[in-house]
Amino acid sequence: MLEVRGLHVSYYTLGGVIRAVRGVSFRVSPGKGLCIVGESGSGKTTLGLAIAGALPPNARASRGSVRIDGANILELGPEDLERVRGSLVSMVFQDPAASFNPLFTIGQTLGDIARHKLGLAERSEAREAALAALRRVGMPDPERVLDAYPHELSGGMLQRVAIAAAILPRPKVLVADEPTTMLDVTLQYQILKLLNRLKETLGLALVFITHNLGIAAEVCEDILVLYAGHMVELGPTDKVLEEPLHPYTQALIECIPRIDRGPGRLKPIPGSMPDPRRLPGGCVFHPRCPHVMDICRERDPRPVALDKRVVSCLLYNGEKGGAR
């Protein structure tokens, strides 16, 4: 079980402090998926890195906790963290080519992981484990792939190998950061189906990051919508997509072209994302919100539980008009 509570992450830069994640809480059970969506710069990757214990040196998780089966990832020292990475939580990235050393064959890379993370000293054992992982991700002709170099594989195949590498040490949590964005739609679909299957058969808690809400519907039970680092809505996928409560979720869904709509104009979200160093006071979304009220400029909304989900919006914050 993955449990994130009240998480805050900041980057320390010469230009000032960037509060990339501000108060995010959620849970993901084994065999289930949570999708993190939001515009560029909303803090999705930062949140993913924090869960995977892989934040860059200039980032700090200043508050909150990330627990996997009880252990708080944020409190681990460098050595424990190294041990935990892979065997407790793994991450897959957008560009699979960037995560492989071009000088090693796939077999060498996967074999290394098997030796270090599974403690398989025998060369033949490590090779067997690597082969098993490739078979598990549905790789055709896995023996041949073991002897191939990364550049000899297509993007779709390489992403499959990256997933094989991630699940090889049998993690409890898999964080996938836009793993299909660089792939063609037909390959994208194959990878989504694969992640779905792995999540169920291996009992993984899957955290799937995307800016494509349609993809969310394919792989995840729950959706978390982020805006400027804030958790604006969290709930079951179909609820959030079909009856979004937060005005930002509504606007985000509305601006995406849909195959069952058109022709004609689209509906962009008015305005643009705020500069992360100068976030507006009150509710961070108020300058772009079609339902803005006076109080939104002053007061930060607290997350409230409503209709099977959590939403942070003053429209639903008690004093003003009750729960609606």
């Binding site: 739609v185 037909t186 993809i215 022709p263």
Partner: protein, 316 residues
């Protein structure tokens, strides 16, 4: 009459090997493509990576020489244009690409970038400054952006600058190669709306290259689906979505997330696209197609299935 006619376009890239650069084969990037774009029409090319969309566009823009085939613009053979006629063609056919930062000189101010085509193609007599201001406004940029450099712009703003630059000479056709793929969803919606507005206002035609079929649904009049250098299906947009025929088109539609309940037949392709260096014999989709049968070892032709709808598949 149509504005642009592409007839039997072929582009092979030689593959060389060894010290003497011996040609060992050809990448058949575009292998017999024909279509027409009418006045004030949007024509979309969709298809997987490597299917030859960009190569088709580059031939049309005369950035590369086609191996064979004809490209007619307002009845004139584009591949034969020289001198003043070529200049006339280049003014009338402009382009916007995926990454605006690559096509905008980082050392020039926005206002100079937008003015550049005017300086290249016209005498100085006309009021350049006013034209630049007008066009910045037309693409929805505040005047002060003119004083900035490209790297001081967001992705969406930079794409607007590229668009202003492309329309300032009042072209008849604008080639859009994945113009919104690098943009955030909300910005994509803004830019697509801008394309629709400019089409109406300036009577533009577009050749829109994209891999996103839902974008096509909003802005395009016609769609051609490409697979390994060939057009496999071509139709009016509403007709294609109403009645998709080719298994590859069905597979593309089926892989759009969130369309489980759609009315078309769901098709999943096996494996990955083969290389354009050695395309399969017969129908190129055969090795991956779940509906393939004996006949598919022969090559199908693009035939008219119904009014304004062509398909290249033995099933029809």
């Amino acid at each position: 009459m149509s504005l642009l006619d592409v007839r039997g376009l072929v582009k092979y890239f030689p593959v060389r090997k060894g010290v003497f650069g011996r040609v060992v084969g050809y990448v058949k990037a575009v292998d017999g493509v024909s279509f027409s774009i009418g006045e004030n029409e949007v024509f979309a090319l969709v298809g997987e990576s490597g299917s030859g969309k960009t190569t088709t566009a580059r031939c049309i823009l005369r950035l590369i020489e086609p191996t064979r085939g004809e490209i007619l613009f307002m009845g004139r053979d584009v591949t034969k244009l020289k001198g003043r006629e070529l200049k006339w063609y280049r003014r009338n056919v402009q382009a916007v690409f995926q990454n605006p930062f690559l096509s905008l000189n980082p050392r020039m101010k926005v206002k100079d970038l937008v003015a550049e085509p005017l300086k290249v193609y016209r005498d100085q007599a006309q009021d350049v400054e006013r034209a630049v201001e007008e066009h910045l406004e037309m693409v929805g940029l505040p005047r002060e952006v003119g004083e900035r450099y490209p790297l001081e712009l967001s992705g969406g703003q930079a794409q607007r600058v590229a668009i202003a630059k492309a329309i300032i000479l009042r072209p008849r056709l604008v080639v859009l190669d994945e113009p919104t793929s690098a943009l955030d969803v909300s910005v994509q919606a803004q830019i697509l709306n801008l394309f629709l507005d400019l089409k109406k206002e300036l009577k533009l035609s577009y050749l829109l290259i994209t891999h996103d079929l839902s974008v096509v649904k909003y802005v395009s009049d016609w769609v051609a689906v490409m697979y390994l250098g060939r057009i496999v299906e071509l139709a009016r947009t509403e007709e294609l979505f109403e009645n998709p025929l080719h298994p590859y088109t069905l597979a593309l539609l089926s892989s759009i997330p969130g369309t489980k309940k759609a009315k078309w037949k769901r098709i999943e392709l096996a494996g990955e696209p083969p290389s354009a260096l050695n395309p399969p014999k017969g129908c190129r989709l055969r090795p991956r197609c779940p509906l393939a049968f004996e006949k598919c070892h022969e090559e199908p032709q693009l035939v008219e299935y119904s009014k304004e709808h062509w398909v290249s598949c033995w099933l029809y």
